[in-house]
Amino acid sequence: MTPMVDLAFLLVTFFMLTASFRMAEPVVVDAPSSIGEVTLPDNHIMVTIDKDGRAFFGISNAAAKMAALREMSKKYNVSFSEPQIKKFSGLPSFGVDIKDLPRYIDASENERTNFKPQRGVPNDSLKDPQLKDWISFGGAEAVKIYNEAKKTAEERNQELKAEKPRYAIKCDGQTKYMNVKGVIKTFTDLKIYQFNLITSLEGGGTVIHPKTP
């Protein structure tokens, strides 16, 4: 039995060390199911849209996230301290106005879930295009980081480990398509046409709808 136990503990240790714990997302989103089997790339920029049409923004790459926050802080004249920027890089997606962001970062995890006002990242293409700026800064930074990684890998003749950043949209099934369209419009305005729509995996082959009464 001893070799088996040794192996079991080895595996436990491996999985414990490799597991990364995700922080709770600010909203619960019940994605519709599909047969899509493409797994979401690790390096992604994600916009989550909840049932009420609020947009939440997140970047998987911590360095890109910090850089994007610095750019945003310059553009919108909201100052962040260094520890705040660092803390922000560890947070999951957020859905607050940039003016409320310093308060949001400083809040404890419990306060954050009940944070008010959490109206989603403003996405008004004319008056308040915050989401557009987040996507454009975040995307630019993520691409920059990817290119640097590619360059160093080439110089050292190593295998490239980084992935190209992808844009993902995660939506609740009950979201009105109009809201999704608004976000897609924001992306296409930035000349980004390829997305990964996040869906949950479906068991069966065909979609069978329960008829709504």
């Binding site: 979401l40 099934g173 990964n196 069978i208 709808h209």
Partner: protein, 211 residues
């Protein structure tokens, strides 16, 4: 290292030697192993399932001239609206009767096996039969792998294969759109694209749903 031979120095007799009782040095590991496997199972399951699945989709770039509608031959348009209802029409949209044909009439179908699935299978027959033929040729080694891939691509882009347009009004949900795209994927259709609904179509759908 630190063993000290404890021999000699004594005049003990043979019978007086005390012998320690032999005890088993093994401990019962079962509960520990149970726990280890429990943790193992937990970490294995949580780590593989945490990666979400996704479907890749490319949206069309906006045309240079937004007033001009691109002409698509052999198109089937789906109109999604509230209460999970789905309408469709074939060919070009006509707001009224003209010399090219009659006014567009919307037909209704439903998500699921009997409605959408059947309809798509029928509309896509030509493509499916073609792909089947190519499959057979590939099996009999009459075709190279690359040629097969190219020919499937050509069949998908052919004029005989319908192009599916997906249009939604302001009341349709995201789930409807995903379900429709999913059904199209299941049926291996040639091309599909998500586009905006135009006003006359919107009015026609409203007429059908009653507001």
């Amino acid at each position: 290292m630190a063993e000290i031979a404890e021999d000699g120095g004594g005049g003990h007799g043979k019978g007086g030697k005390k012998r320690a009782k032999k005890q088993s040095t093994r401990i019962d590991m079962t509960p520990m192993v149970d726990l280890a496997f429990l943790l193992l199972t937990f970490f294995v399951l949580t780590s593989t399932f945490s990666k979400p699945k996704s479907m890749e989709l490319t949206f069309p770039a906006p045309p240079d001239d937004p007033t001009k509608q691109p002409a698509i031959k052999n198109a089937i348009t789906f109109l999604l609206t509230k209460d999970d209802r789905i309408f469709y029409y074939e060919g070009e949209f006509r707001a009224a009767d003209d010399d090219k044909g009659a006014k567009t009439a919307l037909k209704e179908t439903s998500f699921g096996q009997e409605g959408l699935h059947k309809y798509l299978a029928e509309k896509n027959k030509w493509l499916h039969e073609n792909i089947k033929k190519l499959d057979e040729k590939l099996q009999n080694k009459q075709l190279a792998d690359t040629t097969y891939k190219r020919m499937v691509k050509e069949a998908k882009a052919s004029k005989e294969t319908p192009t599916f347009l997906i249009k939604t009004d302001d009341k349709a949900t995201y789930k409807n759109v995903i379900d429709l795209i999913d059904e199209l994927n299941i049926n291996v259709v040639g091309k599909y694209v998500v586009v905006d609904m135009i006003k006359p179509e919107f009015d026609m759908v409203n007429e059908k749903t009653g507001g």
